[in-house]
Structures are given as structure tokens and as C-alpha cells.
């Protein structure tokens, strides 16, 4: 993080994370890695039987990408909460960009609490996943974060 976190202020943008178009391979790998083997994410026949045109991305894959956005901005040990709402499924070929913005910075004694809003948006500007996260720092370690 450039210049430490001392300068973090409401309105700051997190460095965005532009992802490649979602592939069936990524869905299959995430199914194995996450333990969510629901066939609508892996098997096109099962997806069609469920009324979908193709397999869809896991909601938790979208959340994991937002997690990358957060840990790319702030060391994970500072993360206190991370909550999302899955609004639309990510479809094969969707090129999602994860973005975030600081909503609030509050200081209580030595502790600094930072609240951010985050979203995963596709190439058409459609919001797929939206949420919030909080991170806690102390005034002391503000300058130590990379």
C-alpha cells in the first residue's frame, strides 16, 4: 500500500481488480477447491436441466474475487468483517471488475476502523455482487503496512 494507511480517507478508491472473462475451467477448478460440487457450476447438462443456458459461476467465487480485491489493498490480518449480497449470477464470458471505495474512517483511541463498500460489476455495468468490509488498524501499525 502506497504511503501506508495513515492517509486512507473516505472517498478513496481501492485499486480495482479486472478479471479475465469467466471460463468453465475456472468454475470447475473452483468447485474442486471450494468443495461446492453443485453440478450447475460444472456440468452443462445439469445447468440446462435447471433452466440455465450454461454453467454459472459460484457466488462464493465472486466473493473470493472480492476477497482478492481486499487483501490486495490491505493485509488480511486487518480484515474484521466482509459481507456480500449476490445479486446476479456470473455467466460464462462475463468479464468482472472488482472495485471498492472507502465509506468511512473512524478513530477511537489508538484504533482506526475503515469501512469500505465493494462491488463486482460485469462488462455491461451490471452489478453481480455488492457488499461491505471493515478493516482495523492501530495508529502504531498504520505505517507498517506494506
Amino acid at each position: 500500500m502506497n504511503g501506508g494507511t495513515q492517509t486512507i480517507a473516505a472517498g478513496d478508491e481501492l485499486p480495482p481488480l479486472a478479471l479475465p472473462p469467466l471460463s468453465r475451467t475456472t468454475c470447475a477448478l473452483f468447485a474442486g477447491a471450494s468443495g461446492d460440487h453443485n453440478p450447475i457450476h460444472i456440468d452443462i447438462d445439469a445447468a440446462k436441466a435447471a433452466g440455465l443456458p450454461d454453467v454459472i459461476g459460484h457466488g462464493m467465487l465472486s466473493m473470493a474475487m472480492l476477497g482478492r480485491l481486499l487483501t490486495g489493498w490491505m493485509p488480511q490480518a486487518h480484515l474484521r468483517s466482509f459481507t456480500v449480497r449476490f445479486q446476479e449470477p456470473t455467466l460464462i464470458g462475463d468479464a468482472v471488475t472488482c472495485a471498492g471505495r472507502v465509506l468511512e474512517r473512524t478513530e477511537a483511541g489508538q484504533e482506526v476502523l475503515i469501512r469500505v463498500e465493494i462491488s463486482a460489476v460485469d462488462q455491461q455495468g451490471k452489478i453481480k455482487t455488492v457488499g461491505e468490509a471493515t478493516a482495523a488498524l492501530t495508529i502504531e501499525n498504520e505505517n507498517e503496512t506494506p
Binding site: A33, S34, A50, A64, T71, F86
Partner: protein, 146 residues
């Protein structure tokens, strides 16, 4: 209608042994490039005793054990009609390779919208490590489309 008497019930505990190879697989599946999630030496250089689990990884514990899916089936839910609506994490500590994570889940609430066309199930979980320390709390909201 899902029987509201399920509110308050506990689901079977899930136990996940967090293996370094699984964490590397997860990190690759989500396109992670930060070496602390991929390379043991880089993790140690960053001050972790072993590879850290990314923020959403522990959701996999209950997925592996099939606890959530089985819990839904036990409530009479057709899992093909289930979508993940919301997911939240509150963090109390890091999860590292070598940890043994136990997840305890309870049905916090069941409610409906649109005259019962949509039913929501709120599942609250607590994740503890092998030392008995709580590392995270999770809330999953799933929606059943009737």
C-alpha cells in the same frame, strides 16, 4: 413451506484439516497472484508460520462435509431451487495451513417474502481452530424459490 420449528436447530459439526496443497489449489482457482498465498517461504517472510487461508476459504469446511446441503435436505428443501443470497464473515483470527477448523452451524431464522414464493434460511456458523480459539463467524442467507 419450510417448517419453522427448524429455527434454532444445530446442524452436524464439520471439521476441515487445512492442508497447504488445498490452500494453493484454492489460491490458483481464484487467480491469486500474491505469493504469500502460494509460496510457504513468502508466507513466512510476511510473518505467518505457514500459508494463510484467503478470507472466504473456511466456507469450504462445511461444503466439504456437505453439512449445509444435507441440512437443507433435512428441512425438506429441494436444493435445486436454492440460491446463495448473502454471505458474511466476521474475523477473529487467521486460519493457516496445518490448522484443524471445526464449524458449528445453527439455523438462525427462516422467513418468507412475496406470500411465500421466496423462503429465506439464515444459517449462522462459528469456526474454531484446534486450540479452541474462534477464528471466524459466518452468516449464510440462502433463498428457496418456490
Amino acid at each position: 413451506m419450510i417448517d419453522r420449528s427448524h429455527i434454532g436447530k444445530a446442524l452436524p459439526q464439520s471439521v476441515l484439516r487445512v492442508e497447504a496443497g488445498r490452500l494453493q489449489f484454492f489460491a490458483k482457482a481464484i487467480g491469486e497472484t500474491n505469493p504469500i498465498y502460494l509460496d510457504e517461504a513468502a508466507a513466512q517472510a510476511a510473518g505467518y508460520s505457514s500459508l494463510p487461508a484467503p478470507p472466504t476459504f473456511i466456507f469450504a469446511a462445511a461444503q466439504d462435509a456437505g453439512t449445509m446441503a444435507r441440512g437443507l435436505v433435512d428441512m425438506g428443501v429441494d436444493t435445486r431451487r436454492v440460491l446463495h443470497a448473502e454471505q458474511g464473515f466476521t474475523y477473529h483470527g487467521m486460519v493457516l495451513a496445518g490448522d484443524m477448523i471445526t464449524v458449528t452451524t445453527r439455523v438462525f431464522d427462516i422467513y418468507d417474502k412475496r406470500d411465500g414464493a421466496l423462503e429465506f434460511i439464515v444459517l449462522d456458523s462459528a469456526a474454531a481452530n484446534q486450540k479452541g480459539a474462534m477464528v471466524a463467524e459466518m452468516r449464510a442467507v440462502v433463498v428457496v424459490r418456490h
